[in-house]
């Protein structure tokens, strides 16, 4: 089986991190990473990116809207 190029490796990163690769591809990735420091770094940076994404605040409904909904709940469920 042909060895992976770095460009192919980059396209497999998500499946690799999600554990979605079959054993053949997993072996090809492991083999590539054992000899390619730039790709090891790339994956490390991808992991850091995911950690950073986990810290992004996401808006929820305003407290006023939540209060309005609770009032509606009370009215309807009485």
């Amino acid at each position: 089986m042909a060895a992976l190029t770095c460009q192919e490796m980059v396209e497999l990163v998500t499946d690799y991190l999600e554990d979605n690769l079959g054993w053949r591809d997993r072996r090809r990735v492991a083999k590539h990473l054992s000899v390619c420091d730039p790709c090891v770094r790339y994956i490390e940076q991808m992991r850091e990116t995911l950690d950073l994404l986990g810290t992004v605040p996401v808006e929820t409904l305003s407290p006023e809207a939540q209060t309005t909904l609770l009032d509606a709940f009370r009215d309807l469920r009485r």
Binding site: Q7, V10, T14, L53, G54, L76
Partner: protein, 209 residues
């Protein structure tokens, strides 16, 4: 419907305010993200979510439990958001796989081409990121976090939605496929392109800066 959901449903039907307050605060985040992919503004998305909750309240007694409660709520949300999006003349984002989803996700210019010594190999290795990037509270970490948000906002709608649901809010791929009614394969493509783009945005920022 799972046991937890049956209990939740019973609590809601019995008028348990705390149970309702809890799901409103927990579910509204992903609901807003999802609604935002159909409508033009954040304010409009917020109205869609409120409208959805009101419809849920009214329909609670009619809900037959054939799907999970969450799936039912999301279905109402998507229908509400769609009709709102149509009124705002937005094209529906989830109706097809767009051309933006094929081809390499990372700039091909970063790799050597066919005539060169190592076709498909890095032209130059990705530069190392300063360790400070991941140190909470450092100046650089603050800047980088802002940059992550910018990169996220600049993504095409569908990629931003999938990435937000998966990596920001922490939903599983199964949950995201169900919420968006897309295939695993489609979800993976969108997630992959979005992650690749955000990392590339950070790399550009850290190299220039």
């Amino acid at each position: 419907m799972g046991r937890d959901e049956e209990e939740l449903l019973a609590a809601l039907r019995a008028g348990d305010e705390a149970a309702f307050a809890r799901i409103v605060s927990e579910w509204s985040r992903p609901m807003l993200t999802l609604a935002r992919s159909f409508v033009s503004t954040q304010a409009s998305a917020e109205e869609v979510v409120q409208e959805t909750w009101l419809a849920v309240l009214k329909g609670l007694d009619r809900f037959e439990g054939r799907s999970s409660l969450r799936t039912w709520v999301y279905r109402i949300l998507v229908n509400t958001a769609k009709s709102r999006g149509v009124k705002e003349h937005r094209t529906l984002p989830w109706s097809s796989v767009a051309g933006e989803d094929s081809g390499p996700s990372l700039d091909p210019a970063l790799f050597q081409s066919a005539g060169e010594a190592h076709p498909g190999g890095w032209r130059a290795a990705p530069s190392a990121w300063p360790g400070e990037v991941m140190v909470e509270g450092s100046v650089l970490a603050g800047e980088v976090r802002r940059e992550v948000r910018t990169a996220l906002e600049q993504l095409p709608d569908r990629q931003r939605t999938v990435l937000t649901l998966r990596d920001v809010l922490g939903h599983t791929s199964e949950e995201v496929c169900e919420m968006l009614d897309i295939s695993q394969a489609n979800q993976r493509v969108l997630l992959h392109r979005a992650r690749t783009a955000v990392r590339a945005g950070l790399a550009d920022y850290l190299e220039v800066g």
